[in-house]
């Protein structure tokens, strides 16, 4: 799956080289949206076509909710500590 990283890095390089060609960048942004739509359609198709996934959708949703709350809690805890730390240093 490191092929993904290779594509990403080549994308960044070509974007940097072509950054002046606004029209081309605009076109690639549109293609980007289209490819997101297509892939999510395929993901949806895979789910709809898989009885096991459909019947466990609510369980997956609950797990997803737990994961996002865990991530949010962890990050707001640490970022609030960071903010307090920066405030304290600025007071001195």
């Amino acid at each position: 799956m490191f092929v993904i990283l290779l594509f990403f890095i080549s994308g960044i390089l070509s974007g940097f080289i072509l950054r002046k060609k606004k029209k081309l960048i605009k076109i690639s942004e549109n293609f980007l949206m289209v490819s997101i739509y297509l892939l999510l359609f395929f993901l949806g198709f895979g789910i709809g076509n898989n009885n096991e996934l459909i019947s466990s959708f609510h369980v997956l949703g609950l797990k997803a909710l737990l994961i996002s709350f865990a991530g949010v809690f962890g990050s707001i805890f640490l970022s609030t500590l960071l903010e307090k730390f920066i405030d304290k240093r600025n007071e001195k």
Binding site: R19, I36, L40, F41, G44, A64, I67, G71, G74, S79
Partner: protein
């Protein structure tokens, strides 16, 4: 918001088609979606490379500006790690990969479903959509009880676009620069971190 709606429409249309139709035999769905994914990642890279504002900002604000994205990443990982003691049927690696979407649900869900499978892909899609919704709904409370970094951190990658308006409204306009920077860094990291986390030890 308009894009989120279109994305949701395509996703639901996909589910309905999947329920009603069976894919034609010999139709290489996996190969096709893998190549669309490669093109997608390439194009994300192009938009990142073409927009160098984020990098100019780094020069002007020194390294301190990296502390907030770092807090978001470490905080998210710690939160998800703590959850892994209770959610035993998903591996720690997979949990962290889902958390590493940082709200960027479109990209994270397609990468994860491609590498690990549709089941984890669905979890990633929902978990990261929820992260955006939680941020949109709770930002006023975060600002009131915690501070101005909390909503930015909670927004994750979305702090540069979908949650930016609400962050800038409740934290103040002066926080929108750091919010955009924070979101940009996480957006760039999502397609990098997820394959690395899931790729380690996976032979595929």
């Amino acid at each position: 918001m308009k894009n989120s709606f279109i994305i949701l429409t395509f996703f639901i249309a996909g589910i309905i088609c999947g329920l009603l139709l069976n894919p034609p035999e010999n139709f290489p769905v996996e190969t096709i979606s893998l190549w669309i994914l490669y093109i997608l990642i390439l194009l994300v890279g192009v938009t990142v490379g073409a927009d160098l504002e984020a990098f100019k900002l780094i020069k002007s604000m020194k390294f301190k500006i990296f502390l907030l994205p770092a807090a978001t990443i470490i905080g998210t990982f710690s939160g998800v790690l703590a959850l892994s003691f209770f959610l035993r049927d998903i591996s720690v690696k997979e949990l962290i990969a889902v958390g590493s979407g940082f709200g960027y649900y479109s990209i994270s869900s397609v990468i994860i479903s491609q590498i690990t499978g549709d089941k984890l892909g669905v979890i990633a899609l929902l978990a990261n959509v929820f992260r955006e919704i939680i941020t949109l709904l709770l930002t006023p409370l975060f600002v009131k009880f915690l501070g101005k970094f909390a909503p930015i951190s909670s927004g994750g990658a979305t702090s540069m676009d979908t949650t930016l308006p609400v962050i800038s409204k409740f934290c103040g306009k002066e926080y929108s620069v750091i919010s955009v920077f924070h979101g940009t860094i996480l957006t760039i990291l999502v397609p990098v971190i997820i394959p690395i986390i899931l790729g380690a030890g996976v032979h595929k």
